[in-house]
């Protein structure tokens, strides 16, 4: 089954769009919290990393100097919650000089028209 086929058929899942980096605000943390709780309630969840949200997936993160907990431990829990469909914007990666080799989890990379199709295929989405 190709990704594009899946885009068109999987519309019961909640799509959560993450657009913020791990540090500097709580957008990412509180977005992932919603993803984990939704999955814990038995609903299928997919994540789309866009803009600075792709930094969430960078390998070798630590909690850093800002006194924030960091979000990578949350991301390592995704599989346990059966959140396995992770989408990443190709534009966001390219703009930041990143490739999928820099990321800590396996992802599917989408072009902008595929992102539009992803949104069209999901009845509900939450943007963080």
């Amino acid at each position: 089954m190709t990704d594009s086929h899946h885009l068109a058929t999987c519309n019961d899942a909640l799509l959560i769009v993450l657009r913020h980096p791990p540090h500097g605000s709580s957008w990412l943390r509180e977005g992932i919290d919603v993803a984990l709780v939704t999955a814990a309630f038995g609903r299928e969840v997919e994540l789309l990393f866009q803009g600075d949200g792709v930094f969430a997936l960078l390998e070798n993160q630590t909690t850093g100097a800002l006194g924030q907990k960091g979000t990578h431990p949350q991301l390592m829990m995704l599989e346990m919650y059966d959140i396995e469909r992770l989408w990443v914007s190709r534009t966001a990666l390219t703009e930041r000089g990143l490739t999928t080799d820099d990321l800590m989890l396996p992802v599917s990379v989408l072009d902008s028209d595929e992102i539009a199709a992803l949104h069209a295929a999901h009845a509900s989405s939450l943007i963080f």
């Binding site: 709580s26 919290d33 709780v37 939704t38």
Partner: protein
């Protein structure tokens, strides 16, 4: 008739999001639809502060939410985890955490994120109001 739920991320007064959510809710009701649930998350939890005291010539967001609850039976749900971090606690939570006072009172209710999942599943539409 459609049943709506609103998700409010916006802090009161700092940005337009909270008042937009309120005006949207009032418009939905005026058109004969229902707003059954408003869920406050992130900085939106500050909408639930019982200590809010804006100048008299400004909109009182807390009062407007309470009026929406009184006239439309809208449940006003506040994420407990987001609230606790930001000092939005009801009497029970204040006692549990040994805090000297509380800042959230009915009709605002502290609940878990599970209620947001529930709202998404049970209403026809969920609309987000972010900063």
């Amino acid at each position: 008739m459609l049943s709506y739920a609103l998700l409010v991320h916006a802090a009161p007064y700092s940005t337009q999001g909270s008042l937009s959510a309120l005006r949207f809710a009032e418009a939905v009701v005026a058109r004969g639809h229902a707003v059954k649930t408003v869920f406050f998350y992130r900085d939106g939890v500050h909408n639930a502060s019982t200590l809010m005291a804006p100048p008299q010539d400004e909109v009182h967001l807390g009062e407007r939410w309470r009026r929406l609850h009184a006239t439309s039976q809208t449940e006003l749900l506040v994420c407990v985890a987001a609230g606790l971090r930001r000092g939005l606690v009801n009497q029970a939570e204040a006692k549990r955490h040994d805090l000297a006072m509380h800042s959230v009172e009915p009709p605002f209710e502290l609940t878990g994120l599970g209620q947001l999942v529930d709202a998404m599943l049970t209403h026809d539409r969920l609309i987000t109001f972010a900063p």
